[in-house]
Amino acid sequence: MKTCLVVDDSRVIRKVARRVLEDIGFEIAEAADGVEALAWCRAAMPDAVLLDWNMPVMNGIEFLRHLRGEPGGDAPIVVLCTVENKIDRIREALDAGADEYIMKPFDGDIIAAKFAEAGLL
């Protein structure tokens, strides 16, 4: 079973994303900010990361840059999932190493479509 790390400071969003991703066959781990997420990745690199942008302690883009510098950190498929919806911000995320990008609000269909797009399904 593929693993997906869901990184979001909102417990509600994590819960919704978990339900959707479990339905499409992922095993889920959760983190509430970039530092927690990085600790998870160092312990066990996931197949996929669903990543919020704006979070306390360490935001999603900082996490992503750190991740891509880690040993094995280029392997996970990273899908941003954020309210940021300006094209310059999306470009910034892609430049930092994101594979796909979801603009909130999302639903199950969008997550499934984007994960398929990213080659995860």
């Binding site: 999306i90 470009r91 994101a98 796909e100 603009m103 797009e117």
Partner: protein, 268 residues
């Protein structure tokens, strides 16, 4: 319900099943509101009393299915990018390669085609494409032509790299680039009408349309589209759509892809 089904069948060849009343309701409710009626029943009563052409068409338009998405069926677009568009680009033509998305709804399919052509690396050098989008619904065409899509729409099927490459933010919407928008020409077309003035096409797409049509008109629509194909032209239906009793086109082995039959010449 019977009146509505009959109108949809006569005017647009649509199949409205009598057990799908909820679908009819969900499609007609917004129209009834826009037209200032208290209910669908009131609108139907007015239809019966006056038979006003404009209202009849508004109702038929509202009953058409316009479910669509960018890059709907990813395998089909991968095939278009890697095989079909490159093959079409090598056809011996003095003019641009003409591709028609018949029943294009709000335009996502034909814009996806234009983006696919821009992305394909196998297109013959110097080949040019002309894309055509048509639909029976004026409202759909207006939206298609505007090239403006909601955040929800651009997240159904469109890879993020293509969003970044071919779209810009415009207030709360996403606007497709002038380059892609200008690659497409639009026209309101009822597929039941005489199509002979449209010229010839190298490929016609009619995906996910036939299943919503009255079986009695399906063969006629296929024949009149086949008559608009060049001798070496192709017709692309939905991957799971089969044709029975139609001699104008024959299967190619690729799901949904049909070639014009060389012996077909009816009304061409």
């Amino acid at each position: 319900m019977d009146l509505l089904a009959a109108l949809a069948r006569q005017r647009a060849g649509l199949r409205i099943e009598s057990d799908k009343a909820y679908l009819v309701e969900s499609r007609l409710n917004p129209l009834a509101r826009r037209e200032g009626f208290e209910s669908i029943e009131a609108m139907v009563a007015a239809l019966r009393a006056k038979r006003e052409e404009r209202l009849i068409w508004a109702v038929v338009e509202a009953l058409t299915l316009n479910e669509t998405a960018f890059f709907r069926d990813r395998e089909v677009f991968a095939h278009l990018r890697d095989e079909l568009l490159p093959a079409l680009s090598r056809l011996p033509r003095e003019r641009p390669i003409r591709i028609w998305s018949a029943a294009c709804a709000t335009g996502q399919e034909v814009y996806s085609l234009a983006m696919t052509a821009a992305e394909s690396r196998e297109i013959a050098p110097g080949a040019r494409f002309e894309f055509f989008g048509s639909d029976i619904s004026e409202r759909c065409l207006e939206k298609a032509q505007s090239g403006l899509y909601t955040q929800f729409e651009v997240q159904r099927g469109l890879p993020i790299r293509l969003l970044v490459k071919h779209f810009e933010n415009q207030d709360e919407m996403w606007a497709i680039s002038p380059r892609i928008r200008q690659a497409v020409r639009w026209r309101r077309i009822n597929l039941l009408s005489d199509l002979s003035s449209l010229g010839k096409f190298d490929a016609i797409l009619l995906r996910n349309v036939l299943p919503g049509m009255d079986p009695a008109v399906q063969g006629r629509v296929i024949e009149s589209l086949a008559a608009r194909l060049e001798d070496d032209g192709v017709l692309l239906l939905g991957a799971r759509e089969a044709l029975q009793g139609v001699s104008a086109v024959r299967p190619t082995g690729v799901p949904g892809l049909f070639a014009r039959d060389p012996s077909f010449s009816a009304a061409a």
